[in-house]
């Protein structure tokens, strides 16, 4: 079973990377760009039949390692 996880900075947290990327895109002439925020993406394959169980495991991975819950939020999607 395959899942995708996206990890993004919480709303009010500074995103230095996004800021620099945004400026660069604007300088490259992408003037209708309104905002860009950068995050992390994971593609995870797990050996598990039951979707609920699988999701729970993925959730655990996010909590324990993939996301830094103090400054980041995450989302899990089945692929």
């Amino acid at each position: 079973m395959k899942f995708s996880v996206t990890v993004t900075l919480k709303k009010d947290v500074l995103d230095p990377q996004g800021k620099v990327v945004q400026n660069t895109l604007l300088n490259l002439g992408m003037d209708n760009l309104k905002s860009i925020r950068q995050g992390k993406f994971f593609e995870i394959e797990i050996d598990e039949k039951d979707e609920e169980v699988a999701k729970k495991r993925i959730n655990e991975m996010c909590q324990k390692l993939l996301a830094n819950l103090i400054i980041e939020d995450y989302k899990i999607n089945k692929l």
Partner: protein, 225 residues
């Protein structure tokens, strides 16, 4: 010899390389990245550091700057280009050198003196070194894990374009002497025309016995020949 050092926001080895070039009697100029013309130079150096914080990918954003177009033009007309550390990363992002630099295999920043072996001493950058000579040079990077595809790797070997490889004190090249996971221990490469050198180790840090050693000097004096 006239040299130019390109300064990006976030470059931080720009002063260091300028000191090295001046010590070797280059007539050096610093060029701010927003400039649109390059002073006439025989050598252009893209220094180490964290251009644009290395945000997105190291070297990616600097690779899109105005001055880089000029650097590409100069390269194509035969000017010598040296990219050190972040400069190497920028050169791969612009396509002037092939391949790319991935995260170090231990996912940590590494600052250490490592040994590298001179694999090619027939280029304009390396002619003062002996073939197979072992140098001790400082590395300082997060992304120095050189990677390229098979086709290019074969070309590098066939055309003698690998300038330096990581090795041990005695010159042995092995997994143990590979600090960052680079493919075949590659520490620096040349382009096909051999007028561009990209390398992760910092020769400009090795020009003074008091601070380190003088193993980097010959790289600059080779260019003077």
């Amino acid at each position: 010899m006239k040299s130019s050092v390109i300064v990006f926001p976030g470059s931080n080895c720009d002063r260091d390389i300028a000191v090295a070039l001046e010590k070797m009697q280059f007539k050096n100029q610093m060029v701010w990245h927003k400039e649109t013309t390059l002073p006439k130079s025989d050598l252009i150096v893209i220094p180490g550091g964290f251009s644009y914080g290395d945000y997105l990918r190291s070297g990616a954003i600097a690779g899109k700057s105005l001055i880089i177009e000029e650097v590409i033009k100069a390269a194509n007309s035969g000017c010598f280009i040296l990219g050190i550390c972040n400069g190497f990363q920028i050169l791969t992002e612009t396509g002037l050198l092939k391949g790319t630099l991935l995260r170090n295999k231990n996912l940590k920043f590494i600052n250490r003196d490592v040994n590298i072996k001179v694999i090619n001493n027939s280029s304009k950058f390396t002619s003062k070194y002996k073939l197979g000579q072992v140098l001790k040079i400082n590395i300082a990077h997060n992304e120095g894990n050189y990677f390229t595809d098979d086709k290019h790797l074969k070309e590098l070997k066939r055309e003698n374009l690998i300038a330096f490889k990581y090795c041990d004190e005695k010159g042995k090249i092995s997994e143990d002497s590979n600090p960052n996971g680079a493919i075949e221990n590659i520490a620096g490469i040349l382009n096909a025309k051999k007028n561009i050198l990209g390398m992760m180790p910092h020769p400009e840090r090795m020009i003074d016995k008091l601070v380190s050693n003088t193993d980097g000097l010959n790289l600059f004096s080779s260019l003077l020949n």
